[in-house]
């Protein structure tokens, strides 16, 4: 602080250090050379952009495996509408804070992936001119049908039609999801598989318990007939009560997930 102007020289030194450092020091965050290239045709709608490009942009953008932008609808392997996970339960539509989702339930039910027939979305629109990317729809979805896409190239000159992502624009495969969000997708698939396994185990246990109970009952009845003792009747009845409650009757509320194909599990 003694010499007048020393502060300025110090500042200049810092600037010079930064200037030189920016050529080789990763810490100085060199420019990500993102540039959008058209193939001579300007997309009119946000849905016209290349569907599955986001993962290719990672070298030139700051998009990571965790980035989110707008929601998309997941389907499993096969024809999108045959394997779409959404059953048009409209929970996301209700919970969406800015009210940007619009769903119309189908009239008929459709069987998907070997599961029992369910409704499917006849219309599924997301108005990206309103969407605030808050991810609450993903959180509330009980079917793991809606997840976040990291696609950000959506500029369009059309205000009303162009910014409305229709169902077919939103449909993305689970493989694509694995490409853009590998960790999240793997965790989600694992959870689905676990839940499914647990459900099946429960079902099996319940069936076994039922069988056992039936056997026990038969045995008990036989015994009761033979001995007519009150205690021997109550005991097996208790054991049926203790066994896991029978789940198969429950599921209208429980998610009914389409079956997974190999590779994604």
């Amino acid at each position: 602080m003694s010499i007048l102007g020393s502060g300025i020289f110090k500042g200049m030194a810092v600037t010079l250090k930064n200037f030189v450092g920016s050529y080789f020091d990763k810490e100085r965050l060199t420019t990500k050379e993102y540039a959008w290239r058209t193939d001579d045709k300007l997309p009119e709608r946000a849905g016209d952009y290349p569907k599955e490009e986001a993962e290719q942009l990672r070298d030139t953008t700051t998009v990571t495996h965790y980035s989110r932008n707008f929601p998309m609808l997941l389907h499993d392997k096969g024809e999108p509408m045959d394997t779409v996970r959404c059953v048009a339960c409209q929970i996301c539509e209700r919970e969406c804070p800015p009210q940007c989702i619009y769903i119309e339930k189908s009239k008929d039910k459709k069987e998907r992936g070997g599961n029992k027939a369910q409704f499917y979305p006849a219309t599924f629109d997301i108005d990206v001119s309103v969407c605030m990317s808050c991810q609450i729809c993903v959180e509330v979805c009980p079917f793991d049908a809606i997840v976040m896409n990291s696609q950000f190239e959506l500029s369009t000159p059309d205000r009303f039609g162009g910014l409305l992502l229709r169902r077919d624009d939103l449909l993305k495969s689970n493989d694509y999801y694995h490409k853009i969000h590998p960790e999240e997708a793997a965790a989600r698939d694992k959870r689905i598989a676990d839940e499914k396994a647990a459900k099946e185990a429960k079902k099996k246990a319940a069936e076994a318990a039922k069988k056992k109970a039936a056997e026990a009952k038969a045995k008990a009845e036989a015994e009761a007939k033979a001995k007519e003792e009150a205690e021997s009747i109550t005991k097996p009845a208790e054991s049926t009560a203790d066994s896991p409650s029978p789940p198969p009757a429950e599921p209208p509320v429980e998610p009914d997930r389409p079956k997974k194909e190999g590779g994604t599990e």
């Binding site: 110090k10 500042g11 810490e27 965790y66 989110r68 804070p97 808050c134 609450i136």
Partner: protein, 382 residues
């Protein structure tokens, strides 16, 4: 300029006499940190009177929140003070958690502290950049500040998915756990941050221009600061040792060793406010290091149910946001929607004293004084 002509004659006749000039600065003005307007009355270069005009970004956040569920308001709180979405989330979660009893798991508490201190770094670093920008150093320091901000935003993006509007906190915990390796990456950023701060201090803190332009400008006395409800770094720059992290000890702040930087003098000028923020970043790094050491594996979501429907009650939760005391006042009436949702915005209330600080100063200094208050219009007007 029809009004200028008679004034000109007046000056000609009376020699040294001038007349008052009213200037409307804003709402589109590069130095106003958003759409804020000051109606300034000038005598020559000196500010005689100043009237702040608000409301150019009044997005009726409170009214909207009264018409939607408690959870749906969470992403809206991100957009209050859009530099510090994480602390906004925390304040709201804190207020809502008082309404129903929720236990917050240990890991979530640690992550909340980490997120909130990272937010403080983001805010202070960009504020200092903008402040120096207001002083006339266009570009360079701001670019350095934004470079450091980017590193922390990358961390936020990895944890929550979004750079700015994280929407990461939930009642009773956090939305999701941080990905693998995130803590190591955070530690890398935190470890290197002091190096950047050294550089920044070298660049700015002893610069003669900054010293002469900020020292003795925009003084705020201790008494006025307390009475006007000033909070945050601005209050501490006026010499009051009051930090809600120390006073309320919300979350798990009682476990960390850190100091609250405050000005020893009773001046409270722009330089003090600038320096308090620089020092606060160092303390944040201390907290971050301790939190990163202490964090352990575990669940991140408490026992909160899916439906949030508190009984009839009211609550006021407040945190030490980077700009001051951010409070949420909720009145629940037994329905899934809050009956009254009120935000206590720190930068709005800090603007109470703008007029007092600016009167008697030069018009160019009014810009610096506004910059040193650190306002974000999303929060001022809500």
């Amino acid at each position: 300029m029809t009004a200028a002509a008679p004034n000109y004659e007046l000056i000609q006749q009376d020699g040294l006499e001038t007349s008052l000039l009213e200037v409307s600065m804003g709402p589109h003005h590069p130095s106003t940190h958003g759409v804020f307007r000051m109606d300034v009355k000038l005598d020559g270069e000196t500010v005689v009177d100043l009237k702040p005009v608000f409301g150019y970004l009044h997005r009726n956040h409170e009214k909207l929140a009264e018409n939607m569920s408690y959870l749906a308001s969470m992403p809206f709180t991100d957009r209050l003070d859009y530099f510090n979405s994480m602390t906004n989330n925390w304040a709201y979660a804190l207020a809502a958690e008082q309404l129903i009893e929720i236990e917050i798991p240990e890991r979530a508490e640690y992550l909340r502290v980490i997120m909130s201190e990272l937010t403080r770094l983001v805010n202070h670093v960009s504020l200092v950049g903008f402040f120096v920008n207001d002083l006339g150093a266009l570009g360079t320091p701001l670019l350095y500040a934004f470079r450091e901000r980017e590193k922390i935003l990358d961390l936020f993006e990895q944890a929550s998915g979004a750079r700015m509007m994280c929407n990461y906190f939930r009642f009773g915990g956090l939305r999701c756990d941080v990905p693998e390796g995130w803590l190591d990456r955070t530690r890398e950023v935190v470890d290197r941050f002091p190096k950047f701060l050294d550089e920044y201090e070298k660049l700015l803190c002893e610069n003669e221009i900054i010293l002469s332009r900020t020292q003795g400008v925009g003084n705020l006395s201790k008494e006025l600061a307390v009475s006007a409800g000033i909070t945050g770094p601005m209050l501490r720059a006026s010499g009051v040792n009051y930090d809600i992290r120390k006073v309320d000890r919300y979350g798990i702040y009682d476990r960390f060793q850190f100091q609250v930087p405050y000005s020893k003098g009773d001046v409270g000028d722009c330089y003090d406010r600038f320096m308090v923020r620089m020092l606060e970043m160092r303390e944040s790094i201390k907290i971050l290091n301790q939190a990163l050491d202490g964090i352990e594996d575990g669940p991140i979501m408490g026992n909160a149910g899916k439906v949030f429907k508190p009984a009839k009650a009211e609550s006021y939760g407040r945190v030490e946001a980077p700009k001051g005391e951010l409070g949420f006042y909720l009145v629940a009436d037994g329905t899934p929607k809050p009956y009254r949702f009120r935000v206590r915005p720190p930068s709005f209330i800090n603007l109470t004293v703008l007029r007092d600080m600016c009167i008697g100063q030069q018009v160019a200094d009014a810009v610096i004084i506004l910059g040193s208050i650190d306002i974000v219009l999303g929060e001022v007007d809500r």
